[in-house]
Amino acid sequence: MKKIVALLVVFLVVACAKEKQSISRIEGKRITISDSLPADQAIEDYIKPYRDRIKEDMSKVLSYAPIDMHKNDGELETTIGNLMSDFVRSQSEPIFNKRTGKNIDICLLNHGGIRAPIPKGPIKTQTAFNVMPFENSIVVAELTSENVHGLVDYLVTAKRAHPIAGLTIKLDKDYKLLEALVNGKPIEDGKTYHVVTSDYLQNGGDRMNFLKNPVTLEVLDYKIRNAMIDYFKSVDTIPARLDGRFVKQ
């Protein structure tokens, strides 16, 4: 009898070891994270100091907006667009000049990159995060005169209020180009121009292909949002104006 039991044990062990596990049934579903689930207190407590610090910082008042500024308050130029291109240029100019000894001629941003309006009243850190939630960084691309003409053609064809500075464009009533001036002067053949823009656009974002192969490229390591915050801190009330930099007759 003992022998038989021993044999049975060996047999069972062998049979068992050989038996491979295989999937017999799969059930799949998704679970909604709704407010009917209790919040884990340890996680909640852990988050709190991080959240409080952000809230405190976000609610700091940096400047003041005299009116509501949004990206559709003009046809080819807008108050918020003009503000953006002006401060990107003015905040970048000293850094670029110090590094290269050269000056910025033009600023070009994209209309789609303005993600929120600036409401009338106190401007908080939160405002900068709303307007510019992305991590886009400032670069200066040196363009040939051909590519600057390409830039102008792009703006004329797009008929969209892409923010510009240093460049003025006049169109006739049929949106045909009448005049394009860089700092008051016609674009000179054979000359190169320094265009400050975002890394996103320089990399071909919004199909701005004229930015893709610049003569030189200077990466400022300065985020647009940080430039905005620095600029807000430096002014008491921000300007809100349309100045005819991009107009149609």
Partner: protein
């Protein structure tokens, strides 16, 4: 592992024998029904707090603290649970802008995430920014098609990881999306992107044939599918062009699948493809029940998605 299996089985057998009169049939039945639960998230994008009560699209939904309590409850119900993330952990709220991903990784560690793969936005503070946050992650990262050899991430990301839960061997590999054109080269530096479909074919062979895994899972940040670019590598293409993968957990396209998709692989076997949108609004749950192979052959395999 083989030896431990043997010991466990022989102990069980001994117990049966002393009880006496047990047939082989009942022995098999007793060993059946192992149960592995897979929980997964993707594209959480730093959404640590729930959406506002007056949010237009997702009022009062999401939030890390609620997700944590859900996960803890499921783990209590089934300790043989794995918690996975398919990338884009970073970027989307000021938590990332202020703390660079520190809190995201710390909370995921508190929730006991087991494994994650890398999404394109996890490069948003550059590969050095990702590397700097690694000490805050108690979980590991897998990617089979990113070659990190000449980067700071070298040796910190493996192609795959194997878990053993209740004697079930689970092999999980990662796949990342093409970075060129999506992420600035200055951010991803010398990360080399290799063909994800080829990498997946290699991985599934290694995990199934060499490592002899019972369950093979792919953590993918390729995207669910691209209607306008049907040839672009996606989870659905991956499912069709490979074999031996049981589950593909996806991300990147923020696809809110109400239930997992069932696709046929090269062998005509079923593959589950799942993705739970974004922002921690949902958690995906896939339960795998195991039985002895011969019972599965006799009784068939069922897949229930709802």
């Amino acid at each position: 592992m083989k030896r431990r299996d043997f010991i466990q089985h022989s102990l069980a057998t001994g117990a049966f024998v002393t009880l006496g009169g047990l047939s082989l049939q009942s022995f098999t039945a007793n060993n059946a029904k192992k149960h592995i639960t897979i929980l997964h998230t993707n594209d959480v994008h730093s959404h640590i707090d729930p959406f506002d009560a007056n949010d237009a699209r997702n009022p009062n939904q999401g939030g890390a603290a609620r997700r944590a309590s859900l996960i803890a409850n499921i783990r209590k119900e089934n300790p043989n649970t794995l918690l996975l993330d398919a990338g884009d952990i970073f970027q989307g709220t000021p938590y990332f802008n202020y703390y660079g991903g520190e809190l995201e990784f710390k909370l995921m560690s508190m929730m006991k995430y087991d494994l994650a793969t890398i999404g394109n936005h996890d490069y948003d503070n550059g590969i050095d920014g990702l590397y700097a946050q690694l000490p805050n992650a108690d979980f590991e990262f897998v990617s089979a098609n990113y070659d990190f050899t000449n980067t700071v991430m070298d040796t910190h990301v493996k192609p795959y990881k194997i878990f053993i839960k209740d004697g079930i061997k689970i092999g999980i590999f990662g796949l990342g999306i093409k970075l060129n054109g999506l992420v600035d080269k200055r951010m991803y530096k010398e990360t080399v992107y290799n063909d994800p479909i080829e990498s997946a074919q290699d991985m599934s062979r290694i995990l199934k044939e060499e490592e002899k895994c019972d369950l093979v899972i792919c953590l993918s940040h390729l995207g669910y599918k691209y209607s306008k670019h049907p040839d672009r590598p996606s989870d659905l293409i991956l499912a069709k062009k490979t074999k031996n993968i049981d589950l593909i957990i996806g991300g990147h396209t923020h696809t809110f699948l109400p239930k997992p998709t069932i696709e046929k692989n090269l062998n005509g076997d079923s593959v589950l493809v799942n993705q739970v949108g974004a922002y921690g609004l949902y958690v995906g749950r896939i339960d795998f029940y195991f039985d002895d192979e011969k019972n599965v052959i006799a009784n068939g395999k069922s897949i229930i998605v709802k």
